[in-house]
């Protein structure tokens, strides 16, 4: 736990931009890992298995939440972006760098793909498999995220 909690939490925090939710999901990920330990076959490093499982936990939870509240962020409106950025910056004490804050302020879909691709190094095909979106959508969300981040950082 001690060896991996920081990495798992960082992943949850960047994917959700919500420190409280990231703590819950970190706990969920470790409990799920405990339950699924028998399915870890040693084909990859334990960390790789655990982080992939964490991404699954985050997306399963988000799908469940979506079904519950039927609320999807799709806004490209800079004012909305700024508003969410203020909220995210206020919530996440762990995110101190400009880039971290700008990532946290991205719309959910763009943020998730940016974190998985540019921060974590997943390929578009893997992201599509993990998140249930098409490869083309993954690319579109990534390029959109980069555009919004460049705008936010140049402001």
């Amino acid at each position: 736990y001690r060896e991996h909690v920081g990495r798992v939490y960082a992943l949850c925090l960047r994917l959700t931009a919500d420190a409280g939710r990231a703590e819950e999901l970190t706990q969920d990920a470790f409990v799920r890992a405990w339950q699924r330990l028998a399915s870890f076959r040693g084909e990859s490093a334990f960390g790789t298995w655990l982080y992939r499982l964490t991404v699954n936990v985050v997306f399963l939870s988000r799908r469940a939440e979506r079904r519950r509240v039927q609320r999807v962020f799709t806004s490209d409106d800079p004012a909305a972006l700024e508003q969410r950025g203020d909220r995210a910056a206020g919530l996440d004490r762990g995110l101190t760098l400009d880039l971290e804050q700008a990532i946290a302020a991205l719309p959910a879909g763009a943020r998730e793909v940016f974190v998985l691709h540019d921060v974590e190094g997943y390929r578009h095909a893997e992201i599509a498999e993990l998140t249930g979106i098409a490869v083309g959508t993954s690319k579109a969300q990534l390029f959109r995220a980069r555009r919004l981040l460049r705008e936010a950082l140049n402001r």
């Binding site: 420190a19 970190t26 409990v31 760098l97 880039l99 540019d118 460049r150």
Partner: protein, 197 residues
């Protein structure tokens, strides 16, 4: 600002995923477009910055206690379920023993615990032979389950037998011994039937 029609190509250019011909086309565009040319190092800085972000961020509080509590809670739930199943099994066995004997079940033709013991042992031996011969026709999971249950029943038989040696006149222990022996014969009959089917 990047030329809108170049956004996809420029991103693929910095990701190095373009074919040689497309790459050359982008470079030709960059040669004549200052805005797109300026965007390339910006994109590269952004991607490098993302890769350089700390891989690990410590949570604001220790999460382990809650994780451990949830794991222990799940284990307790499992054991509660297992105990409930065991209680149900005890109830079913108890009811089974209260019901009138069925002709479908095995009953010894003799009386007295020594005779009963001999009779069940003979029945057990008669069934164990064919079952061992046809064991390979059973699924591994079934073989394991039968072996596990036989182990439990044999344990009960051993305990009953030892108790009867200490207290030979105890009719309740005789009944327990007979019940355990009957269960063993029934289990062997079932397994033999399944293996032969």
């Amino acid at each position: 600002m990047i030329c809108p029609e170049m956004e996809v190509r420029l991103n693929e250019y910095v990701d190095d995923t373009l074919a040689a011909r497309e790459r050359a086309a982008v470079e030709a565009h960059l040669a004549g477009c200052a805005a797109c040319r300026a965007a390339v190092p910006e994109l590269r800085r952004l991607i490098a910055g993302a890769r350089a972000l700390p891989r690990s961020v410590e949570p604001r509080r220790d999460l382990w206690e809650e994780i451990a509590a949830r794991i222990v809670g799940r284990q307790r739930t499992f054991w509660r379920g297992a105990l409930a199943a065991a209680a149900m099994l005890t109830l079913v066995v108890g009811l089974y023993r209260l019901l009138p004997p069925s002709t479908a079940l095995y009953h010894p033709a003799v009386q007295g615990w020594a005779a009963v013991q001999a009779d069940y042992e003979q029945a057990t031996q008669e069934l164990s032979g064919p079952l061992a011969a046809q064991r390979c026709r059973l699924r591994p999971g079934t073989v394991a389950l039968v072996a596990r249950n036989l182990g439990v029943i044999d344990g009960a038989i051993r305990e009953s037998r030892a108790a009867l040696l200490r207290d030979p006149a105890n009719a309740e222990i005789e009944s327990l011994f007979a019940a355990a022996s009957r269960q063993k014969v029934e289990l062997l009959r079932w397994a033999t039937r399944v293996a032969a089917s």
